[in-house]
């Protein structure tokens, strides 16, 4: 998990991509990530607290996310997370890969059609 090249990490598991995408928008705490990632991926039962935590830990170990200060006016006891630059690159790379995949699929279905 310590590769320096985003491409080496692809394809990402849906959960990982979901979390990275949510965090691309703004730093967020655990529950917020879980809620939004579940919405995002569209599979509402994907993430529970255990899986969330284990994945966050893995991403942190891989240098893709890091702890963030809680924004003013929020509960300081909640742990916030934000994307690192590398994490952002990985999310972009995966999005591009998925984009190409969709283009290919679209093209294929047009040709078939």
């Amino acid at each position: 998990m310590t590769s320096n090249k985003p491409a080496d990490l692809l394809p990402l598991r849906p959960v990982v991509f979901g979390i990275l995408s949510v965090l691309r928008q703004a730093p967020l705490h655990g529950y917020g990530i879980m809620q939004q990632a579940n919405d995002h991926v569209g599979h509402r039962a994907l993430l529970g607290p255990g899986t969330l935590y284990r994945t966050l830990k893995e991403l942190r170990a891989g240098g893709m996310i890091e702890h963030a200060a809680a924004p003013g006016g929020t509960d300081a006891r909640r742990q916030y997370y934000q994307l690192t630059r590398f994490g952002g690159d990985v999310a972009v790379a995966e999005a591009q890969r998925l984009g190409r995949l969709i283009d290919t699929a679209t093209l294929a279905s047009q040709q078939a059609g």
Binding site: G30, L47, R77
Partner: protein, 905 residues
């Protein structure tokens, strides 16, 4: 994408946990503890937010619990799998301490799976560390550590050198010769002297026998540099003939008799009937370099004028302190010059006598050092064997785990993580072994001090030494560490696929096998050296015990008594006392015979005199005829079992009024009366022209061992006690029953006769004889113990290698059996492998033992260092050990099922 809105949690303040949240908390306990500690709080926080928001939806709570429990279950499964595989943590940036903690936990778990292996390694380490600490502590305390006095290197023992008279190099000094050497103040700060003292202390409860010394005035303060803890030391005015007698008490005696009451200072105590003023208490730590068991010291009260005639009476042991810049050699030349001057001045007494100076430390421990160095060498061998064993066991263990390591590697453990973990196992083993070894060392040192023969010098200074412990622990732990590391490196480097395919079969290279076999050969060789050494010492001990002593020690009790010269000033009083005592003791039920002698054989006391034979020319002064002299009562020969060769023993009529008579021993008779009958001839003491003291020989007795069972017979004479009485006597009682049962009645008889008299000691003569062999027994016992440990270590080593070889070769054995080998062939193959290793070890060990046992020569008696019987027996024992070690593995090999083994392919 919608702009990011931090989803604000519905419940901002953290309220107390609801019932559902508490339930989730409980469920979190199913997670592995370490993961729970790390992730639990955050998981709970997320769950609380989730729980709070779930209420508004249809079936919200139900759905929430379904999802939460499913999530938790998958999490538990994943985490448990991870810990059981001992995978390295996914993040490398976890604090080092956490990683180490985890490694140690896995190590403990791994060792619990192989408890036999762990126990053997730990015990081996503990034995190696413990035995070495104990022996080295003793050697350090006795031989190596400086004497506990200021500038101890300035202290020398001063002896009279009788070598030119064919006498000992270390003889005591006469008072005048001490007085003269004391005047050499250009080389000596001070010379002190002392004389043993056995006294009866009365006046504070029961009469007690105390041991002590009479000490010249400068001995404590100027020679040893020790001051009393309380009161004052001896002054010059205390050490003159008419001074009031003063005493210094040992701390222990003060506590024991006066319970540490300082008011005893300045008070008079009664020592053997003479009032003595207590002037001081010596410090609790004070151990004089002489008579270590002394409990009190009195001033000597001698001067040169008083003892002028006693130049020939060697009774005083002396210690000197050199002037700061003076070497022992310089002092020796000054003493030599003085010796020559005295020889010219006093030719009668001093011809052939010089002074010999020896550094005090080596002088005190000289007799003990050979045995101790040899024991230290032996225990070093044990340490070496322990290290070899640990190495061997760890090597075998690591090799057998190649498969397991390969699996770990395959599931993602890094090489560093694997090495770290194997090392953690070594460290856990080493630490446990080290702690046990330390305990063993501390208790072993105490046991050795208890076991050491009485009179061993400096025993009180021996204690388990932290430096020693640190040293041995470091050596063994390094061994464990090194031998844990090598297999760890090798095992983790291995080719994964090969290891996985061949796991448990032939992953061990032939190099590794040869290394382990070589280690075992070395081990057998070391064990052989120790076993041969122990065997030779046992043979020596056996020879010593079967020596003909010349008397019958069995069934005899001895009581030592000393009559105070104050109350028993006249010879007649002493003779009357011992006569009456003998009569009363003889009347005790069960007593078959009673007698008295001034010095028991083998009790460690010497006493000799120069004599002449009437009608034979007197030899030159420097070639004196010397004989041991003993005084005995008529009942003594029968009681102790002396054998009469010719003539008669003493009778009751040989008293002070009768003609003086003497009984001589066989050696004296054959040395000086070659071919003649000595009976009726006369010997005399003094000079023929100066009214000598004549005695008529009435009997000749067989030689007895007087001063050590291994000593050659010397000339000896027995005087009739009634004709030459003394205050100190040992009464001996023979019984057909248990002699020690007579102790209490005999003591009562003494108290009945004189209740102010204490019995200095009561013991059976058998014990006295055994006591004289105490140091041989000490050495032999320890050497045998080390040899036994060595043998056990060698068997463990052999077992480890053979058993491992069997499991590695199960494939080959299976093939052999499939091709028709029967169980017996297979068993023979395995046992043959073990015996082969033993034979190689024995070959190496024979060469080693041949050389090493030369060091033992000084300790052997009537035993050749290359004694063929011992060598043969040891080789037999080792071969047997080789067979025993192979029995279990051979049995296992013969039960190998060829079909199952071959089907693995």
């Amino acid at each position: 994408m919608t702009p990011a809105q931090p989803a604000s949690p519905p419940t901002a303040p953290m309220n107390p946990l609801s019932a559902g949240e508490r339930l989730y908390c409980v469920a979190l306990h199913l997670l592995p503890a370490r993961f729970r500690a790390e992730a639990g709080p955050e998981m709970l926080a997320v769950f609380r937010d989730w729980h709070a928001s779930a209420g508004d939806r249809p079936f919200g709570a139900f759905r929430l619990w379904w999802l939460a429990l499913r999530d938790l279950a998958s999490c538990i499964r994943a985490e448990r799998l991870r810990s059981s595989l001992a995978l390295p943590q996914l993040q490398d940036r976890a604090p080092m301490i956490e990683i180490l903690f985890k490694d140690f936990r896995y190590a403990l778990r791994g060792l619990r799976r192989a408890p036999g292996f762990a126990a053997i390694v730990v015990l081996t380490l503990a034995l190696g560390i413990g035995a070495n600490t104990a022996i080295f502590s003793v050697v350090d305390g006795i031989l190596l550590r400086a004497l506990p006095f200021d500038d101890p290197e300035e202290l020398v023992a001063v002896w009279a050198d009788y070598t030119r008279r064919d006498g000992p190099v270390r003889e005591w000094l006469s008072y005048p010769n001490f007085h003269d050497v004391r005047q050499l103040d250009e080389v000596f700060v001070e010379v002190g002297t002392y004389l043993g003292l056995g006294a009866t202390l009365t006046g504070s409860g029961d009469a007690v026998s105390v041991r002590g010394a009479q000490v010249s005035e400068g001995m404590f303060n100027r020679v040893l540099g020790v001051q009393p803890a309380l009161g004052r030391g001896f002054a010059a005015s205390d050490d003159i003939p008419d001074a009031e007698r003063v005493a210094l008490l040992s701390w222990a005696l003060w506590q024991q008799q006066w319970h540490g009451d300082p008011s005893i200072l300045g008070e008079a105590i009664v020592l053997s009937g003479e009032p003595t003023i207590v002037i001081g208490i010596m410090p609790a730590t004070f151990q004089p370099p002489f008579s270590p068991q002394a409990e009190l010291w009195v001033a000597l009260r001698m001067d040169a004028t008083q003892s002028a005639g006693a130049r020939g009476e060697a009774r005083y042991r002396s210690i000197a302190r050199l002037q700061p810049e003076v070497t022992t050699a310089t002092a020796q030349s000054a003493a030599d010059a003085l010796g020559s001057a005295l020889e010219r001045e006093y030719p009668d007494a001093n011809v052939g006598i010089g002074y010999a100076l020896r550094p005090l430390r080596s002088d005190i421990v000289g007799g003990t050092s050979t045995a101790l160095w040899i024991l230290l060498g032996a225990v070093g061998f044990v340490l070496l064997m322990a290290c070899v064993n640990v190495a061997n066991l760890l090597l075998a263990q690591a090799t057998s785990r190649v498969g397991e390591i390969a699996v770990r590697s395959a599931v993602g453990a890094s090489r560093a993580a694997i090495i770290r973990q194997l090392l953690a196992e070594s460290i856990v083993l080493a630490t446990t072994g080290g702690v046990l070894g330390a305990l063993l060392g501390v208790f072993g040192t105490r046991a050795l001090v208890g076991l050491a023969p009485p009179g061993t010098p400096r025993l009180a200074e021996v204690s388990a030494d932290a430096r020693v412990l640190a040293f041995t622990a470091t050596v063994t732990l390094l061994a464990a560490f090194a031998f844990g590391l090598i297999p760890a490196l090798r095992a983790s480097r291995g080719n994964l696929s090969v290891a996985l395919n061949e796991a448990g079969r032939s992953a061990d290279g032939s190099g590794g096998r040869r290394l382990r076999a070589g280690l075992v050969v070395v081990q057998v060789a070391l064990a052989m050296v120790l076993l041969v050494s122990a065997g030779l010492l046992l043979r020596t001990f056996q020879q010593m015990n079967s020596v003909d002593l010349g008397f019958e020690p069995g069934g005899v009790l001895a009581l030592q008594l000393g009559l105070p010269s104050g109350r028993y000033a006249d010879n007649a009083d002493r003779v009357a006392f011992y006569g009456e005592l003998e009569r009363r003791l003889a009347a005790l039920p069960g007593v078959d015979a009673v007698g008295g002698v001034d010095t028991l054989p083998l009790s460690g006391f010497d006493g000799d005199a120069n004599f002449q034979i009437e009608g034979q020319p007197e030899p030159p002064r420097d070639q004196q005829r010397i004989a041991w002299v003993r005084r005995m009562t008529p009942g003594y020969p029968e009681t102790i079992g002396l054998r009469l060769t010719s003539g008669r023993f003493f009778e009751l009529t040989d008293d002070g009024e009768a003609a003086r008579v003497v009984v001589i021993n066989q050696t004296l008779a054959s040395t000086y009366f070659d071919g003649q009958d000595p009976i009726g001839q006369r010997v005399y003491f003094g000079r023929a022209d100066d009214d000598p003291f004549y005695l008529t020989i009435v009997g000749v007795v067989g030689d007895i061992k007087n001063f050590g069972v291994t000593q050659e017979s010397r000339n000896a004479m027995y005087f009739a006690y009634a004709q030459l009485p003394t205050g100190f006597m040992s009464m001996v009682l023979r019984t057909s029953g248990d002699p020690s049962s007579l102790a209490a009645p005999a003591r009562a008889v003494v108290a009945d006769l004189d209740n102010l008299l204490a019995t200095a000691s009561i013991s059976t003569v058998d014990d006295v004889v055994q006591q004289s062999l105490a140091s041989e027994r000490f050495t032999t016992t320890l050497m045998s113990a080390f040899a036994a440990v060595a043998l056990v270590l060698a068997v463990i080593g052999l077992y480890g290698v053979i058993s491992y070889a069997v499991s590695m070769r199960s494939h080959e054995i299976g093939v052999r059996m499939a091709l028709g080998a029967n169980r017996r062939n297979v068993g023979r193959l395995v046992v043959g492998g073990s015996v082969g290793l033993v034979v190689a070890g024995v070959a190496l060990g024979t060469v080693g033992a041949w050389g090493a046992t030369r060091a033992l020569t000084g300790l052997l008696y009537e035993t050749d260092p290359t004694d063929p019987l011992t060598f043969t027996a040891v080789i037999g024992v080792l071969l047997l050990a080789g067979i025993v070690a192979a029995t279990l593995p051979a049995n296992r090999a013969s039960r190998i099922d060829p079909i199952r083994v071959l089907s693995r392919d």
